[in-house]
Every structure is written in C-alpha cells, then in structure tokens.
C-alpha cells in the first residue's frame, strides 16, 4: 500500500475514541465463562451433577430397597444383579450407597445453607454496625468457636437421639461462625470503598447499601468458602456414623455403610470400598468446584 495515503489524517467524523471493542458481559456471565474454561472445575461440576442425579433418581429406579433383606444372597461380590454386591443381611449395597449419598448430600447442603444464611446476617450486622456491637458479637463467636464441636454434637446426639435432625443441629450450632467472620471482614473493608460512600451520599439507606453493593461484591469470597463447607459437613456426618453415634441402622449413610463393612473388611473388602470411594468422589468434586470458583471470581484472571 502507498505509505503516503496510510498516514493521511482521517476526517473528524471517522474519529471514534469512545468505542469499546470488548463484548459486553455481565459479571455473573463473565465468572461462569471463566469457570467453564477451567477444565478441572468443569469436571468437578459434571461429576457432582452426576452423583446428585444418581442419588435422587437412581434410588427410585432401583428394584431393591435400602432395608430389603434376603438371607439367601448374603455377602455376594459385585455382579450383574447386584452391581456393588450385597452385605451380611443380603441387602443390595448399590441401593444402600445411593441412599447414603442422598443422606450425605442432604446433610451437606442443608447444614451449609443454614450456616450460610445465619452467618451472612450475623456477620453483616456485626460488620456494618461496628463499634461495641461488633465487639460483643465477635466475642460470642469466639466463645462458640472455642468449645470443641465434637463435644456438643455428642451431647445433642445423646439428648435428641441419633437421627439426621440432631446431626444437623450439631453441625449448624457453630458452623456459621466461619461464614460470619468472612462476611464481617468483607463488609468492614467494602463499606469504606468509595462506591459505598457514594451511595451513602446519594441518600441510600444502610440496608440498601448492604444488600445492593456490599453483599453482591462479597459473594465471590463467600461462595468459595461455602463450597468448602459442604464436604466438611459430609465428612463430619460420615465420621459420626463411623464411630457409631450417627445415623443408625437400618437407615443408610455413607458413614454407617463403612462402619458396617468394617468388621468384614479383610474378607469382603469391596463392601467398604464403595461407600468410601463415594465419599472421596463427592469431596473431590466439591473441592474442584471451590477452587474453580475461586479462580473464576479473581478479577486478575479476567482476560
């Protein structure tokens, strides 16, 4: 091309300095796209979805029930009719594992949802009010945190009996403290941001600033912790059941299944392998998701 014409000034009408070339994306969409581009996170997400679907619908489709006993087929190894084999009462382990996953996921999600909501409100109020209210509220947290959780979970199990409800109460009693601390820290740092001050000067009420600006902006950090709390709760339940004070027979949870199979571990190792493998898969997938979310929310990863 002719160099002379290349360097001729353009007409003013062709000046376009306000033009923005990047495609417009909402923040949530942006995060989602980055999450999907992360292969590990996507793998975790797909895996967890499969497990959830299997737990919800698989158990329904199964021809066996979780407590249906058949002494003729005790301790079978895995084969075509009973994919995971049968246990010492002749119950189908595949069905029982599905029920166990259901129980574990239920406890994981419900306790996390409760902890999340309570922690959100508590931490938000403490952070936003500041001063003495904040000091008092955080000391309450410290005290709750200082008592070993195992201690009162065992007490609650003794008083209310060992079923799902008491495990949930036990996990939720102090589980929200972690969320509350994070929310408080976020709110404390965000409320001095200039956009929060600007909203205040415009006449926003504190409630509006909290919900519209502060909460939306701390969601990223929160989601990451929350996805990590689910495996914690699942693990707690499995542990309680494994030491024999959690969900009791004939109900199935992954912990009780492992506990049942423990005694025959050397003779029938497959019986303990399946429930433990399931716990591992769930926890793996959730950790992958959490890590992926963390990376997706980090604004430095915006391309």
């Amino acid at each position: 091309m002719d160099l002379k014409t290349l360097f001729l000034p353009l007409d003013v009408s062709q000046k376009n300095d306000e033009f923005i070339a990047m495609e417009s994306k909402s923040f949530a969409k942006d995060v989602w796209q980055r999450f999907c581009r992360n292969r590990r996170a996507l793998f975790g997400f797909v895996l967890l979805s499969c497990i959830v679907l299997l737990a919800v619908f698989g158990a329904m489709a199964s021809p066996y029930t979780y407590d249906g006993q058949d002494t003729a087929i005790r301790n079978l190894p895995p084969h075509a009719q009973h994919w995971f084999g049968t246990d010492k009462f002749g119950r189908d382990i595949f069905t029982r594992v599905l029920y166990g996953v259901r129980m574990s996921l239920l406890i994981g999600f419900v306790s996390t949802a409760v902890n999340f909501l309570v922690g959100l409100v508590y931490g938000g109020v403490a952070g936003y009010c500041g001063g003495y209210a904040d000091m008092l509220m955080m000391r309450v947290c410290d005290i709750l945190y200082a008592i070993p959780a195992m201690l009162y979970i065992i007490l609650i199990m003794l008083i209310f009996g060992s079923h799902v409800g008491s495990i949930l109460i036990g996990i939720c009693l102090s589980g929200w403290v972690g969320v509350a601390r994070i929310v408080r820290a976020q709110v404390l740092s965000l409320k001095e941001r200039e956009y929060a001050l600007a909203a205040y000067v415009l006449g926003s009420s504190r409630r509006r600033i909290f919900f519209k600006h502060l909460l939306a902006n701390s969601m990223g950090a929160l989601l990451v912790t929350v996805t990590l709390m689910i495996p914690q709760a699942i693990f707690m339940e499995a542990f309680l059941s494994f030491i024999g004070i959690g969900i009791s027979a004939p109900m199935a949870s992954l912990g009780t299944l492992a506990q049942d199979a423990k005694t025959y571990f050397q003779v029938y190792p497959t019986q303990i392998l399946f429930p433990i493998g399931m716990i591992c898969l769930i926890i793996f997938s959730l950790s992958f998701i959490s890590k992926g979310l963390e990376e997706a929310f980090d604004p430095r990863n915006r391309r």
Partner: protein, 349 residues
C-alpha cells in the same frame, strides 16, 4: 451578594487514634476550626499537602463523617447534627465526586443502573422518565447512549469520572464537593473533565467545593481559595488576591513551587524550600503547627496558636498578621523579625 449556599463555621473533625500509655484517648485532629462560605454559582478551591484533611473536610460537609464541633449551614439550615433519615432532602441537592474513578463505581452495576440509582433512592420519576433522563445525562457528560449496558471496568479513567459526574447530576444538585476529581487522570483528560465541570456550572448555576493538588488548576477554576495545613485553614480569600500576593508563609512556599510556563519569569522566581519535619496531627502541640518549617518563625509562634486575622478581606492564621504585630511593622519597629528582601512590599494596609 446572595446568601451563601453553604456556610461552615469553626468546623472540627477529630478521629480516635488509640489510647496513650496514660489511658487517655489520643485524638487525630484532621480538621480544626475551619470556617468559610460558598455563594451560589461560586467555586471554592481547597489546597494543601497530602494528609492535611481536605478530604475529611469535604466528607464531613456531606455528612459521611459526623462533625466533632462547629456548624454546617446548608441554604441557611443547620445540618450539623441532623439524623441521616432527615438529611434526604439535603442529599438531593448536595453531592460529592470522589477522587478515585476506579473505586467510586460499583463493579457489579451497569452504567444504566448506576445512573438510575439516585432517582430510585429518592423515588423520583417513572421508569420510562428515568430511562430518558439517563440518556440525557450520558449525553451531558459526552458518553454514547449505547454505553448504558456497559460495566465500569470497560471504561477508561476519564470516562468513569464522567460517569461519576453524571451520577451526581441525576438529582439536579446545587452544590457538589469535588474531591480531587482529576488527580487520578492524565493531563489531557484532566482538561476535558475541568471543561465539563465548568460547562455544567455555567448551565446550571452550580456551586463547587473543589479539592485539588494542582494549584494552577485551582487558580483557573475557583473564585475563592482556602489553603489548609494539618487541619487548619491557613489562608482564605479571593483566588486572584491570594495568588498575586500570598500572605501566609505557607501559601508563599506553596505558590513558589508552582511551575511557570514562561522561562524568564521562572528564572526570576525564587523557590522557597521548606525544611523541617511536619508535626503529626495526633495530639498536635498548642502552637503554630507550621512553626518548625516556617522561614519567618518567631518566639511566640512556638508558644501560642496564631489567631485568625482578618486582613484586607482575607483571613490568615499567622502571628505576622495580628493587629499589634502589623502596627509594629508599620512603625518600622521589628525587634525579632528580620524581613526578607521582598517582604516590605506586601505589608497589607
């Protein structure tokens, strides 16, 4: 002259700065005994070095901070102690533009949301009217209508500052505190923003409190100027007067540091270089806070706080301008003080 739109009298803002060993709480005196008034359509410039309390003063006026003492009168109404929920009508007409265009817009809101928010807060207009007003606002500040669905991170600093300005204009304010609106921008964009602010002022008769570092820009934009040092208003007067003949030694030093475009005058000009440590604003001593850096320091500067002296339509907080000292100097008696060569000329009469 018309009644002032904003009047600030003896305003103080102290922050808690922890406890001393003795158990007394220490006070950080960010703003100490500041008074001034701004008339409708007027711009007051506020200058001073970093950390002298300019932002704190601005934020106290718009009641982000609660004043420690003093009074703030807005359109004749005392808003010093008014509760936040009763401030709503005042908030409609008193706005603030923040320094950092990257921090002052919520990254999760689109430009449309940001500009409509003030109207939503005050429950003004219908949805459709809001949308058309947002378009008008974008046009006023020179942005494109299709920017409405964009997010703040998609804009440059100058564009964001224009969005901030548009947001403050959404409520048709009469008074805006501009807290260093241009110091985060590069020079060519600074001029754009200043021109925009001036144009809006001409069109709408706005008043500004314009906080800045750049003395040249302040001279250009403001009618009055206040010079702050460690929370105190050292000198306050009409911009032209202060720039042509600064009274306070601190103002002299500040102005001597302004670059001059003409090399001849620049060479003739002497820079006053300040030496000495700056006092801390935490529990400052009860003397002139500029004493340890002042080239004209006298014994009494280290003993007592200077009174605010009214000299030739200006206010100066300096012992050199107390009535008794001025009288001494006019009589040619001056036991302690040795005049610098150019000093004679500017004894105020």
């Amino acid at each position: 002259m018309a009644a002032p739109i904003l009047e600030v009298a003896h305003l103080c803002k102290y922050f808690d700065a922890g406890r001393a060993v003795s158990g007394e709480t220490k006070k950080l005196k960010a703003v100490e005994d500041v008074s001034f008034a701004i008339s409708p359509g007027e711009t007051m410039g506020l200058v001073g070095e970093s950390g002298c309390g300019k932002s704190t003063l601005g934020r106290t006026i718009v009641r982000i901070h609660d004043p420690t003492a003093g009074r703030i009168l807005y359109k004749g109404e005392d808003i010093t102690r008014r509760k936040n929920k009763h401030l709503l009508p005042v908030r409609r007409s008193m706005q603030m533009i923040f320094q950092d265009p990257y921090a002052s817009l919520d990254p999760r809101c689109t430009v449309g949301d940001i500009l409509a928010e003030p109207m939503a807060i005050h429950r003004l207009y219908t949805k459709r009217e809001r949308a058309s007003r947002v378009q008008a606002l974008l046009e006023t500040v020179g942005l494109k209508p299709d920017h409405i669905r964009r997010y703040p991170h998609e804009f440059s600093g100058g564009q964001r500052q224009r969005i901030s300005i548009a947001r403050t204009l959404a409520l048709d304010p009469e008074f805006i505190v501009c807290d260093e609106p241009i110091s985060a921008l590069d020079v060519s964009i600074q001029a754009q923003i200043i021109n925009l602010l001036e144009r809006i002022q001409d069109e709408r008769g706005l008043s500004y409190l314009f906080i800045a570092h750049d003395l040249g820009m302040v001279r250009h934009i403001s009618h009055k100027i206040g010079v702050m040092y460690l929370g105190h208003m050292m000198e306050y007067g009409q911009t032209a007067d202060v720039y042509d003949n600064p009274y306070h030694p601190y103002t002299k030093a500040l102005l001597s540091a302004v670059p001059v475009p003409d090399p001849k005058t620049a060479r003739a000009k002497q820079r006053i270089v300040l030496k000495g440590e700056v006092f801390t604003p935490i529990d400052p001593p009860a003397c002139c806070l500029f004493a340890n850096r002042c080239p004209h320091v006298m014994a009494r500067c280290r003993r007592t706080e200077p009174p605010v002296c009214h000299v030739a339509g200006r206010r100066v907080a300096c012992h050199l301008y107390t009535p008794d000292f001025l009288a001494l100097r006019r009589n040619g008696e001056n036991p302690i003080f040795t005049d610098p060569p150019d000093w004679r000329a500017d004894i105020p009469v």
